[in-house]
């Protein structure tokens, strides 16, 4: 099935229905009638998208500049959603399963409070990837987010389980308040990574300045790093052998909290 944007929204368009769970098994006519919010107006999906029924192979392709389209794939539990173009905020929010691939860049809050499934962004992502909503303590609790470009601040804020991998740089407060789970940044970490982290792992292949509440433990070659990075390589990340084999310096923190989190920095 293929949806292509024919009318660009003037103001943000919220389309919780752009999600394989709600689209697959419906006719083009039924889909065109699905409710969306264009700013403060109720509208129908068909006012913005052409819908083309295709082979029912479980994949929905959406084309066009969706930068003003929010909540795409929110709550998704199954199937595959492919987006050709940029996409707005809250992509795959509270997603439980299935897969989203964005052939472009995404806005803020990618995979916010995600519980399962996988999101891959070929371009960049905004702030708060895989994080909690404001006022909540727990972010992502499962699944995988792969970003082949860079991400901005607060990656994995409050994350409890799952994997976030970023090929480029991340902004400040990467892995802030991390409860558990893994954040891999192959580029540079911003400032104050892991502030308030309780458990979990943040790994970077580049040098980084850490908070004064992180304490150096040792330099070693943990087998898990090799396993993890080889896995990421299979998912399309370019990772040099030195990083896969190389020694890593381990810092534990955040001392203000439990001190059971770790930051691993490549020590080549």
């Amino acid at each position: 099935m293929r949806l292509s944007l024919h009318t660009a929204p003037e103001v943000p368009l919220e389309t919780d229905c752009l999600c394989p769970d709600q689209l697959l098994g419906k006719s083009a006519k039924e889909i065109a009638k699905l409710l969306v919010f264009h700013g403060n107006q109720r509208a129908e999906l068909g006012e913005f998208f052409h819908i083309q029924e295709g082979a029912q192979n479980g994949t929905v392709t959406v084309e066009g500049d969706l930068a003003k389209v929010k909540q795409v794939g929110a709550g998704m539990s199954d199937g595959k959603l492919r987006i050709v173009g940029n996409v707005g905020a809250h992509l795959g929010a509270e997603m439980r399963g299935g897969e989203i691939v964005v052939e472009g860049s995404a806005g803020d809050w990618v995979g916010r409070e995600m519980r399962g499934g996988r999101i891959t962004i070929l371009g960049d992502a905004g702030h708060l990837v895989g994080s909690a909503v404001r006022g909540a303590a727990v972010g992502m609790t499962g699944g995988e987010i792969f970003i082949l470009g860079s991400a901005k601040n607060e990656v994995g804020n409050g994350m409890r389980r799952g994997l976030i991998a970023i090929a480029g740089d991340s902004g400040d407060f990467t892995g802030v308040n991390l409860k558990a789970g893994t954040v891999v940044v192959l580029g540079n970490l911003g400032l104050r990574s892991g502030a308030g982290m309780v458990r979990g792992t943040i790994l970077s292949t580049q040098p980084a300045e850490l908070l004064p509440t992180f304490c150096y433990d040792t330099t070693y070659r943990p087998p898990i790093v090799r396993t993890l990075l080889l896995y990421l390589r299979r998912q399309g990340f370019t990772i040099e052998d030195v990083y896969i084999n190389g020694p890593y310096r381990r810092f534990s923190g955040d001392a203000i909290e439990l001190n059971k989190g770790e930051i691993l920095l490549y020590a080549g």
Binding site: E14, N40, V133, R134, G135, A195, P212, T213
Partner: protein
């Protein structure tokens, strides 16, 4: 009016101190204020500069028009918009703020206040960490340890020291200044810093690291020795400060925009609030923001009371949603999302980032302000209103959430924000065909 008229205990709304002991003397013609006793320099200038002037009461596209026509034009713009946004609100009464929230609600629009560009991060931190707080009266009477972080009251809130803080004589601290320890933390030696017993000069952009180290020391945890090189503050100084904080009987940290608007923003404030919370293991400790605009605290209170959230609230889907970064005005403008803007008592065209201002030029803007502003000059509809506090009564909130009634001194020929907003609301209801049950 032939005799000079004096108003005692008038309230100054120029800054968040909201001093309520001002003595105003009104000129015999009733058109200006000739003396503002007790006020500081800023407050004096604020009262004395208000003269009854003759701008048109309303303009559409820069052309003078009647109030009715302008209200109708404004209501039509807002009802037609798909993403109408309401912004400003920090320099008006709570009564007007309440009408503005109602307008945003009926329009299913967006509402945000200037809090989002000053202490918005503090609002987010309060939500995340909680707030251990006290009224300024309590601080004046009890606080024997006073720390200012990232603020310069001598220049921005001139009477803060003498009315609410260390220069005041406290009920339980009759020796006043001598009984209190005063610490200032800032990136440069400000005039306020010169009054302190201890001044910590932090390298710019390192507030979070210093706060984090202080938290760790209070909790008896590890702090890396590199702290001095990183932040400019030595471990000895930090340890000494922690001991003083733990040993005091009632401690307070006042924090300003030097903390909330520098790199780290809400995390900086969250770290400071968490520090105050940590210190409550040892003694009584509170943290209070030092707010700028006269009634910005009222804006937080009114918007919270009506929507559940302090700023950055969106009603597009019929119920309030809060998300700073998504629904804050700077962001909805910079991303080109809002398609109409109602500005009450603020001048975004003068102080927003360039991208946001560019969008302001593309959409219809409606302004309410006592004086022409940059924003009113590009506005589709501009109303001239009576200045609050000087000519309009009502309620304002001091920075410690204490409500105070205004005592206006001179009559203005212009309507108040509240009146225009109420009439605008009625017009919007009429256009949308919403009927409300009589109370």
């Amino acid at each position: 009016m032939s005799e000079a008229n004096t108003i005692k205990n008038a309230v100054c709304t120029f800054c968040g101190c909201v001093c309520d002991d001002i003595e105003l003397v009104v000129a015999p013609d009733g058109k200006s204020i000739t003396r503002a006793g007790n006020a500081c320099e800023l407050g004096r200038a604020w009262f004395l500069e208000h003269k009854v002037e003759d701008y048109p009461v309303a303009l559409i596209d820069g052309q003078e028009t009647s109030l009715e026509e302008a209200i109708e034009a404004a209501a039509e713009i807002l009802v037609k918009a798909k993403f109408p946004a309401v912004y400003g609100l920090s320099d008006t009464t709570c009564e007007a703020q309440k009408e503005a929230v109602a307008i945003a609600d009926f329009l299913n629009g967006n509402i945000d206040t200037t809090t989002s560009v000053c202490h918005g991060p503090s609002g987010m931190a309060f939500q995340g960490i909680g707030e251990s707080t006290a009224s300024l009266g309590e601080i004046k009477n009890r606080a024997d340890f006073i720390l200012y972080w990232g603020g310069n009251p001598v220049e921005a809130h001139p009477r803060h020291f003498e009315r609410y803080s260390f220069k005041a004589e406290g009920k339980y601290l009759p020796q006043g200044r001598a009984a209190r320890t005063v610490v200032v933390v800032d990136v440069r030696k400000t005039k306020s810093a010169q009054e302190a017993d201890i001044f910590l000069q932090v390298k710019p952009g390192c507030d979070f690291e210093v706060l984090w180290a202080l938290r760790a020391l209070v909790r008896g945890r590890f702090v890396d020795a590199s702290i001095e090189e990183r932040t400019g503050i030595s471990m000895e100084v930090l340890k000494d400060l922690v001991e003083r904080m733990k040993a005091c009987r009632f401690g307070v940290i006042f924090f300003g925009m030097g903390l909330s608007m520098t790199r780290g923003r809400h995390f900086n404030v969250a770290a400071l609030l968490a520090l105050a919370t940590d210190l409550n293991q040892f003694t009584h400790f509170v943290a209070n923001p030092v707010r700028g605009h006269g009634n910005v605290t009222g804006a937080d209170n009114v918007v919270s009371w009506q929507t559940g959230y302090p700023f950055g609230v969106n009603f597009n889907r019929g119920y309030p949603r809060f998300n700073p970064g998504e629904f804050t005005t700077v962001d909805v403008l910079a991303r080109g999302e809002a398609d109409a803007l109602l500005v009450v008592a603020s001048d975004p065209a003068a102080n927003f980032p360039r991208k946001a201002i560019e969008h302001l030029h593309r959409i219809p803007v409606i302004t309410l302000d006592p004086k022409p502003t940059r924003t009113s000059q590009i506005a589709k509809v501009a109303f001239t209103v009576a200045p609050y506090g000087v000519s309009v009564g009502g309620t304002v909130y001091r920075m410690d959430n204490v409500a105070l009634p205004l005592r206006p001194a001179i009559k203005s020929p212009y309507p108040s924000d509240e009146e225009i907003l109420r009439r605008l609301k009625e017009k919007i209801l009429e256009l949308k065909g919403i009927k409300r049950q009589a109370a």
